[in-house]
């Protein structure tokens, strides 16, 4: 037996625990059996028969890194996987490797160019119960501007509240991006030239500090369900849910993943606790609502109550949650009309609020993002 020792070439610091799925193809185009994955800061040894192989790594950015390797009997061959798009700094690697500099669902090959936009103007807002918005000040000045790539990055503590970053790239154009509640949330404002003149040139990526959860989120956001499934097979989402005290944002990602996987056994009753223990996070209520709907039989009453509660709490931190909230409210509204012949006024009110934000949303963003100059007046340009 021989061994392929596969490692990720760049040195990664803060994103080291992120996991990416691997596919190993032999000479006859068959996939090597096994659910192989690579943790970015640690090599993985894969036992193989002697021969020639192609190793592929599927990044959350959409990039597919591949490398050929030949290994003889009873020996170990090193495979070093090098991404095409490199981070200029190790501590910014999380943005380049896990999020991607472009909002495009596929990794776009980038040539170097100059930023043809002025620096965006930033503000911080807080969203509290019953959709109350308050401006809470300005973030610290951005750091690490990278010509041609990024306007800069920043970090802050957002535990215990729903904080939104307002980014205005002209005097008439702005958007709001959710910053997940975390001890340290990082954000990077990548320059992402729009296809349409006058469009939004800023790709805001955020990270709540859990690389494994953030990579799963990346796959789900891009619709790369094959990679999400492969990583999730060993994904300890239930551990995240157990650790929700420490990291509710990542627990929410775990909940979304298990919903998508229809893995209701692993969801247990943690969804109730996630919703109950963190009353300021709408995502927990959304996850519990859909867990209730997908139960057998569906608990429509519980779902209804949680969806309304989610709207009281604000807007989900993650775009997946906004989609589920919008769909759930639409279902409840239609169901009420069918069963009673009358409108459910609470649902209708919630749907009106959520619908306007959904219609102004940037659906390509992993963290919930909507366009508008004022947070209570969302509008898609």
């Amino acid at each position: 037996m021989s061994t392929l020792r596969i490692r990720f070439a760049p040195y990664v610091s803060d994103s080291g625990k992120a996991v990416v799925p691997l596919r190993i193809i032999d000479r006859n185009w068959r996939n090597i059996a096994g659910n192989w994955e690579l943790t970015l800061d640690n090599p993985v040894d894969v036992p193989v028969e002697p021969g020639n192989f192609t190793v592929q790594a599927f990044m959350p950015t959409g990039e597919v890194i591949s490398q050929e390797v030949a290994v003889v009997a009873n020996e170990t061959a090193d495979v070093s996987l090098e991404p095409e798009i490199a981070s200029p700094r190790e501590d910014l690697a999380w943005g380049y490797l896990l999020k991607g500099t472009s909002r495009a669902a596929a990794a776009k090959h980038r040539h170097t160019w100059s930023i043809e936009a002025r620096d965006p103007v930033l503000e911080l807002w807080e969203l509290s119960y019953d959709q109350r918005w308050d401006k809470i000040g300005l973030p610290a000045p951005l750091q690490h501007r990278v010509d041609g790539a990024s306007f800069g990055s920043g970090s802050m503590r957002t535990s215990g509240k729903l904080v939104w970053l307002r980014i205005a790239w002209t005097a008439e154009r702005a958007k709001f991006v959710a910053l997940p509640p975390a001890e340290t949330v990082r954000f990077n404002l990548f320059y992402d030239p729009p296809e349409i003149e006058g469009g939004d040139p800023v790709n805001v990526v955020v990270d709540a500090g859990n690389p494994r959860a953030e990579s799963i989120l990346g796959y789900l956001r891009r619709g790369d369900f094959a990679s999400a499934r492969q990583v999730g097979a060993n994904f300890t989402a239930e551990n995240l849910l157990r650790e929700k005290l420490r990291d509710p944002a990542s627990a929410a990602i775990g909940g979304y993943f298990l919903l998508q996987a229809a893995d209701f056994v692993r969801l247990h009753n943690w969804t109730e606790r996630l919703s109950e223990w963190f009353e300021y996070i709408p995502d927990g209520a959304v996850i519990l609502a859909w867990h209730a709907l997908w139960s057998s039989p569906p608990d429509f009453d519980l779902a209804r109550g949680q969806l309304i509660e989610a709207t009281h709490r604000g807007l989900p931190v993650y775009t997946i949650g906004l989609r589920l909230l919008s769909d759930g409210l639409s279902l409840c509204a239609a169901r009420a009309l069918k069963l009673t012949g009358k409108e459910d006024s609470d649902i209708a009110r919630a749907l009106e609020i959520v619908g306007t934000y959904a219609a102004a949303a940037d659906w390509a963003s992993a963290a919930t993002s909507f366009y508008g100059m004022q947070p209570d007046k969302p509008w898609h340009y």
């Binding site: 959409g62 591949s66 296809e195 239609a334 659906w363």
Partner: protein, 370 residues
């Protein structure tokens, strides 16, 4: 009569059923033969939907290779006559047909005008939109509501293809038909991806009187580009690999001699991560791998002709006259990659790569110029 293909397979056997809706003519929109609707939202007549639907229908009729769920039927509603009642009738027939076996594959394709309302309704316009000025939306249906209401359908594999603009309008919409009005009573796992030709707020594009870019991409991905893995005899196209390939393929659209990064959207569906639907099988000789080769530094691109050569196939192509970066679709194989520079180039050579394997889903290499 909208049933254009009927293989007359036993009803209980698993099979693929396709519903195509193609609306070119809008009498009550700009340029139409009828009275203009109260609100046209700047929309007019179209020429791509019918050619697009025909292209897809022909592919499924002549090329679909799926031993487990072979093609059963194709239902098509196309202009002239693609009114909401016609669409509803075809939808009902398709719905009932697909419900005969949970292993059936239901495929829904719409090409025509699409609008996104202020309250997040995705309205797809039928030919008779605006026919009744008192109720112009009687000629439209709510795709999102339709999708949600199909959650309890006894057909577990549902593929939705929306080849329509997603122009935003300032109005709120309520009460549109959902084609299936009964709300779901349960939510069993389903594989139900939604693939949209464009991102929110943007237009779906295509050349006049020809298939749309999205329909071209769809057929390319089904036929050769969207494979997932080799099962020992053929390469499998499943709903996960198809979505991933569509995104990449749409980014390779050539429009008027220019490369367009058209933003295909593969989110918004429901895909149970436990299993993906096997859509089609491709013979190894027919597989093509979306590839990209470029020079490092990129300044060498203008001086270089890149060459890809597969010895065992005696297959060689080069980048002369091609847009840069060079993006060929290559047969499966192991390629020697090299480049030659024009006389007088500031660069002296391009380092070659030997035996680089072109494997799905995409194959990228940079060639260093010195």
């Amino acid at each position: 009569m909208s049933l254009v293909v009927d293989r007359r397979l036993p009803t209980a056997d698993p099979q693929t059923h396709l519903l195509l809706i193609a609306v070119n003519d809008y009498p009550h929109l700009n340029g139409g033969s009828g009275t203009p609707a109260p609100q046209t939202y700047g929309q007019g007549q179209l020429t791509t939907p019918v050619p697009s639907a025909v292209k897809i229908a022909n592919w499924f009729d002549t090329r679909l290779n799926n031993a487990t769920t072979p093609l059963g039927t194709i239902e098509m509603v196309a202009s002239p006559g693609a009114t909401l009642p016609s669409i509803a009738g075809a939808f009902s027939a398709w719905f009932n047909r697909c419900a005969n076996n949970p292993q059936n594959v239901a495929c829904f394709y719409f090409c025509g005008h699409g609008l996104e309302s202020k309250n997040n309704v995705t309205a797809l316009l039928a030919e008779d939109y605006g026919a009744n000025p008192l109720d112009p939306w009687a000629g439209a249906f709510d795709f999102r509501a339709m999708f949600l209401n199909l959650a309890d359908w006894s057909c577990n594999s549902q593929i939705f293809l929306l080849d329509a603009c997603r122009t935003t309008i300032p109005d709120s919409l309520n009460g549109l038909s959902a084609l299936k009005s009964a709300t779901p009573t349960s939510f069993p796992p389903r594989d139900a991806p939604v693939f949209k030709a464009t991102s929110f707020g943007n237009a779906a594009l295509g050349p006049a009187n020809a298939p749309s870019y999205f329909s071209e991409a769809l057929v390319d991905c089904l036929e050769m580009l969207g494979v997932s893995h080799f099962d020992g005899s053929a390469w499998v196209v499943d709903t996960a690999s198809l979505g991933r390939a569509l995104v990449q393929r749409m980014y390779r659209t050539i429009d008027g001699g220019l490369r367009r990064f058209l933003p295909c959207d593969i989110g918004g569906g429901v895909q149970s991560l436990s299993s993906f639907t096997h859509v089609h099988s491709v013979a190894p000789v027919d597989v093509r791998v979306m590839s990209e080769f470029y020079c490092d530094p990129t300044a060498a691109e203008d001086d270089a002709t890149l060459v890809a050569y597969e010895p065992s196939l005696a297959y060689q192509i080069d980048s002369a006259g091609e847009l840069r970066p060079w993006r060929p679709n290559l047969p499966l194989g192991d390629y020697d990659l090299s480049g030659r520079l024009v006389a007088g180039s500031a660069f002296s050579s391009i380092a070659a790569l030997r035996a680089a394997r072109a494997a799905p889903p995409i194959f990228m290499r940079k060639l260093r110029a010195v």
